[in-house]
Subunit: 285 residues, 6 copies
């Protein structure tokens, strides 16, 4: 039977009514100040996912058994962060309305704000777990307050003090770190204390935002602003399994893959494996 070509992330073509998690891409990088290219992240993850297996020997689970639907990339307006965020928020709303978990693939980290706006409206008690190399706590950047460098600060505008838990942070302005001390919980350089945070947030609604540059650039070179001194793949794999299996993740995102900066393809392969392990770790996979 002849029909239009369907392309989804590996094994994520579950019928809409059975899906529990919905993947969608936000190919946006207009506020990226240094090296753009994360706009190509979601389609690269989708396209290259066929290089990994559906089965995880770590979790002994298989995407063939999972309930995930990949609805593809949004068509976003370049040059207007506000419009793009509006479209991301609307898509997130639609997924939440359908009773499913939104799983957003960026794009630059600013896309998180679009999803967060939708999610925070439904979960007044929302908490955020944030893995990243960069604090992203600036109030504005070169005159813009909708910038990748400000995204967690904008999330704080919504959720307020004591709700944001950062790990792996190793880069930022002096002022960001100073401001952060009073408003968010920041673990510099590594993931120490993550276990305790997971215990403390048990049962609460959690938005999990993963900037892949938390990984060391040796593991994940394909990103706009690589920061030496990051965590290993094994550390990240253990952390995401813990977070996604033990917490009530109401929405999540994975972002900052820039395939154009990844000529060997290893970063895209890492991103695919991270997405697979997250999808398989959800209790309702």
């Amino acid at each position: 039977m002849l029909k239009a070509n369907v392309e989804t992330f590996l094994g994520c073509d579950c019928p809409a009514d059975e899906a529990r998690t919905v993947l969608f891409g936000a190919p946006f990088d207009s506020t990226t100040s240094f090296r753009p290219g994360t706009r190509f992240g979601p389609s690269a993850i989708r396209h290259e996912s066929f290089g990994v297996e559906t089965y995880s020997p770590y979790q002994d689970r298989d995407l063939e058994d999972a309930h995930v639907l990949d609805v593809g990339d949004l068509e976003l307006c370049f040059g207007s962060a506000e419009k793009a965020l509006g479209d991301i928020e609307a898509q997130t709303e639609e997924i939440l309305d359908a009773g499913k978990r939104p799983f957003l693939l960026g794009g630059e980290h600013l896309v998180t704000l679009g999803a967060m706006r939708a999610v925070a409206g439904r979960y007044p008690d929302l908490h955020i777990i944030h893995l990243d190399a960069h604090a992203d706590l600036r109030d504005d950047y070169l005159g813009a307050n909708l910038s990748h460098a400000c995204v967690i600060r904008r999330c704080w505008d919504i959720v307020g003090d004591g709700r944001i838990f950062q790990f792996g942070i190793r880069s930022g302005e002096r002022a960001e770190f100073a401001w952060g001390r009073d408003h968010v919980t920041t673990q510099k350089f590594n993931l120490e204390g993550l276990g305790k945070t997971v215990e403390a947030l048990a049962g609460k609604p959690v938005y999990f935002t993963l900037d892949l540059d938390v990984l060391d650039p040796s593991v994940f070179p394909g990103t706009g602003t690589p920061e030496a001194g990051g965590i290993s793949f094994e550390a990240l794999r253990t952390a995401i399994t813990l977070i996604c299996s033990k917490l009530n993740i109401v929405a999540c995102d994975v972002n900052e893959l820039a395939p154009t900066l990844d000529p060997s393809g290893v970063s895209t392969a890492v991103a695919c494996k991270v997405v697979r392990e997250m999808l398989l770790a959800f209790p309702d996979y």
Copy 2:
């Protein structure tokens, strides 16, 4: 409404029952002897087609008005040319059975043989127009007779003398040129005589096979075996418009784009434009 991601060549998502031409990809390059990578050609053409416009100022026609469906890539067995050709033949049969024109995107040139087998079975009077840098007339290559270097010879096995018209040929073994003189019509180096050939074949069923390396490597660097001294884009554009608008093209293919050898992306962009112009040139577009 949430549904699985659909990706087609630009504007080619016509409902199946209205489609007149059906695009499909054969991501196969196992017999490529020099530099592989054409397996990535069809998906690159599909993916990058969004960088060209649907409208052609050359023909004043628009893909938005065309009746084309892109059904995606076959999943082919690597390492067995015979199995891969069987799958291509079957897909071509299905499209012909549906009363539509098959438009195959390669892959290496050998994929033509799969489509040809299906088409030749229905059109005993089939003729072939072949644009290429290479004669592809070897009887075998390193012991294999199913090889990209033998594909037109294999087509000749089916259609016989006097049915094959080659243009742009500028590379081959001494023996290929010698053999060719008795069995096919070969225009070396350029497209001279194409107009007369088109006149002569008027009304007859024609399979049109386009190896993009007929273009000069300055225009189309992204191919496994670049051969300096090829034709210009404008020469090719004029030729394909002539062939597709004036002849009874019952099936066709475009092949030998190797995106991995095209870091600037210009070759993929050329391939997209070539496909667009061919699709728009068909009288029944």
Copy 3:
């Protein structure tokens, strides 16, 4: 004597009070819809200019004799086209105030609008010569009216009918071409008629905007949206020499080099040579 490192385009370090032309860069590509990277254009042109000679055997003139100052790149806000355009306009104003000719290096084509706003304020009779592959006449693009794809339409908002002369255009929506017929003069595909246009505009103030993708991608692959079928380097060289030597060019720009898409460096080299030839062609060089 120890002093901070100065870097300018080859030979363009004339003292400010002697300079007649002032080069500046606008490293902006936030509205680029397909493949970003032109933000790196101005610094690549500056940095790689040392690969060309100061002397032009075409014009028998030497940059060592020219009166040009390169003041470097603006620091622009990413993610807000309006803010970026404001900064470009301000810089252009400053150069005009000093009685010098602004020469802007993009960046994506939208940057032209910033410079145009400043120039048009001073020259009510301003005309525009526009060399490009793309018409850039959309009224909006994906919801944004400040987009690279709309830039000439925005210029038309300022100067009105009969003032814009386009050459080399070979891509656009059907609607753009239709709209253009009533409002601008468009030469499709090539530069025919340029000589007459130059004669007709003799003595009038002219803004010259050059999108380098007017060149064929074989000559200039390093750009976001390559369009096969463009003009040759020799055609462009002759045209820019004519335009810059015969007309009253009150400001100009050269844009759309994306060095990240130019791994061999040939596109940057072409851009450097184009800038050199333009600088040397001005009667008051």
Copy 4:
């Protein structure tokens, strides 16, 4: 004296009658399902070996003292795995007939099967040590049973249960792991237990097959299917020294380097060092 150019792996031009180990390359990757390019592995290793020293500070031995001859690459038929394996088997036979140790450079992992067939015929008690990221235990892959993804299963067809010892495996189908539990010894993720295996196999004839993707992609990005979570260079170096110095290695191979996916060249450099350390570790070096 003028003579035809000789190129061998660094320092491996020992006269044939004195050689104890014979290097040869099998530039084959036709069954590679994801990203081809390992066909260029052997020549890259040979060509880039001049970037490493002949002396190993780890073992305090020098290739200048070793007895190794590099006879170059086979010319293999692309598109027919069976023919290619036959040629590899024949070359291995010839080396064994000459009383020397075959050392095969791939190519994709399937090439191992050609060498194994020759070796197993002479050593009925043959055991296999297999370092890899992938289990390679499928019975067939997309309809082919001669596929890189099936190579260890095909070796098992020859040697049977209890003879194959896998280490570092971190990717495969669910079914492969299940089958493997009954037929081979698999150490997942790392090299634990290698010391005991080496003790247990003391004195027995061993074929050592090394798929370089057992290394973490940070160390070895240049391979078709990178799998995050692999072993470090130091872990591999220690292991190969142990295996080659303590066991009776009757033949061995190193495969899956894809230089086209290694733009910085680090993977080729790793491969060269691995080959050097293996060659120097043999007791009869």
Copy 5:
């Protein structure tokens, strides 16, 4: 105010009379025997430094408070090592004359010799700390004694026995290691003993030369001769902080970044961070 474009390493535009450290580049790689490209190192470090922050969360110091001036790259004669070294020596002299600390950015490692000649003339008791993958102790290389492979041997010609302390060395000829045992202190493979060396050299004038290939290629792929088995970024970061903060560093250099071999840009990013951390660690920063 219009003035010629100034470009310096991030935040290093301190007025000359206030500067305590002076950065300068030596873009030279003529004696590189394997893969050239380090000539582009200094400008890449300068240009890409805007991707890192001025603030170090490791040291809680900020380049905005530092007293550093970047005077740019020397224009060196290619093809004559002696002339190039003379120019480097002269620049170093000028900086020393001004009472400032020279901080040289290479280029290949041979550039160290130019700076060393100037420094050794002023500090008869000079010691050298040398971090590198390669011993660089050859007396000559392919007939040249001014070669990157001989640079530490040439330094030894000046300072003599017992003054040079090498760490991380994992590559060299057998003869180099043998010679080194009698003349320099070499720690193979890692940085063990660095703490004791720093204690022993307290108060003495020290030249610190850092060949970035001491890092593992996974961390720093962008160098001419990558050597697997190197140290981690964290090990290097700790070491340079110790060396620069505890010792009397009278001059230093960082070399062997080859940006052309670093398509993802991670190596340049590492180099920028290393330079930042060194600049901030000096007691008089």
Copy 6:
């Protein structure tokens, strides 16, 4: 029979005593001022020659009938132009002593001088045909008189006025062009007048030096200093056939391919075809 691997340019493994032309490589680029990499030219040409056919449909001749031996690359000292030139001269002498025609593959253009010194000593009446984008007539460059930018001037030192005929020149200092007018015959931009020059030099001993950057960068991007506005492949092919078939070419060279700047491989493919056509054009092929 096991023997060390032999690698030659396609089909050029003629026994030494039967060879009429001897190919050898000079992998040297130490004086290259802009972008190095031509050192990899000769081995790339040799290695990639297997992508072209032995048969030329242009000349209807086949390398299988030719008498050519490829003796491989010299091992040259980097960092000393004088030593490298000495080795090239010695190799050229040896070939001339054997009564064969030296055919040198560069490398940067300076290598010509080594061969020229040997040849000029035997042919007092030697003339030079020089195809290039650059005049190469500087007396010194950045203080060095042995530089790629001076090579034809150095040849003039040997042969004197009226013996050198340049074609295609489109770049140089003002002073070079001025000097050249009195001492050499320079055809700017194209090959006009080549036919007459060939007639005039009939029977005289001629050294033919071909800098491949005479080609337009669209045809030949892989070179250190690309200069837009060059000649087409067809123009070059015709010219080299004329020169090599009609003149008494006593030695020749082809240089300035930089494979590292040629990611698509088209430039190497062009160089291979140029070498093949030259070898087949010699009357005594």
